[in-house]
């Protein structure tokens, strides 16, 4: 039991996590012939929900121009990206449970809530106009020898630098 406890309680080094992520991405690539992506599925979910309530064609041109449309037999709910995303959340919950770190976090104040929502909207919008988030357009792009991963990475660091400055000025 002691071995299991030290295995899950202690933080793993970054390089071990990096190797595990790379191996999982290779397995995913071999299985579904596409590297790991996260945010495209939110577009499918969003347009699917809008379709259900009678608002059609909101993202049609976006979907057509950038080839983000689903194949005819790919239902939105069972599209593999949805399953992968659910897996990410379940895996994260599992890892907090086995390290007994699970805890519901409260919201400290309105400012924290507002910053969180604003940050989330900006990240979501940015990920879609950049045609990917830090997974699809960075983590999966660089091992594919695609130049866009490096361009994305460069500007991600610029964005992080600006974000840190704003955080330090307004939240600390």
């Amino acid at each position: 039991m002691r071995g299991i406890e030290t295995l899950f309680r202690k933080t793993w080094p970054y390089w071990i996590a990096g190797i595990i992520l790379a191996l999982i991405n290779i397995a995913l690539m071999a299985y579904i012939s596409s590297p790991w992506r996260v945010t495209s599925v939110f577009l499918y979910w969003g347009t699917w929900m809008l379709d259900r309530i009678g608002i059609h064609g909101v993202a049609d041109s976006y979907v057509r121009v950038y080839g983000n449309s689903l194949d005819i037999n790919e239902a939105v709910v069972i599209v593999y990206l949805t399953i992968v995303n659910i897996g990410v959340v379940l895996g994260a919950v599992l890892s907090t449970l086995v390290s007994s770190d699970f805890k519901f976090k409260k919201i400290k104040n309105k400012k924290q809530l507002l910053y969180g929502i604003a940050g989330g909207v900006m990240m979501g919008y940015g990920a879609r106009i950049a045609l990917g988030c830090n997974i699809g357009a960075y983590f999966s792009a660089i091992p594919s020898f695609s130049l866009h991963g490096w361009v994305f990475g460069l500007f991600m660091f610029v964005g992080t630098w600006i974000g840190c400055k704003l955080l330090y000025k307004n939240m600390i």
């Binding site: 976090k105 409260k106 600390i172």
Partner: protein, 76 residues
């Protein structure tokens, strides 16, 4: 030998650490900073930073998943 309190409840990385860095800058040698946090990453990254800086520190779990970190400023 003044004592300072720092409320970092419900805040996540890296805010508690940055707050501690800022608070310690204003303190005199021998002053004690008491940080209250419910973020377990703070335990590891605040402790790592404080030990690297050469200050004295200790921490205690005061409730389920809530800690107090005591830092004594030992170096300029």
């Amino acid at each position: 030998m003044a004592e300072f309190k720092l409320d970092c409840m419900h805040e996540t990385c890296p805010i508690p650490l940055l707050k501690a860095v800022k608070a310690l800058k204003k303190m005199e040698l021998g002053d004690v900073l008491i940080m209250l946090t419910d973020h377990n990453c703070s335990i590891s990254n605040v402790i790592e930073w404080v030990e690297k800086q050469g200050h004295k520190m200790d921490y205690m779990e005061i409730g389920q998943g809530e800690w107090e970190i005591y830092i004594e400023k030992a170096r300029k």
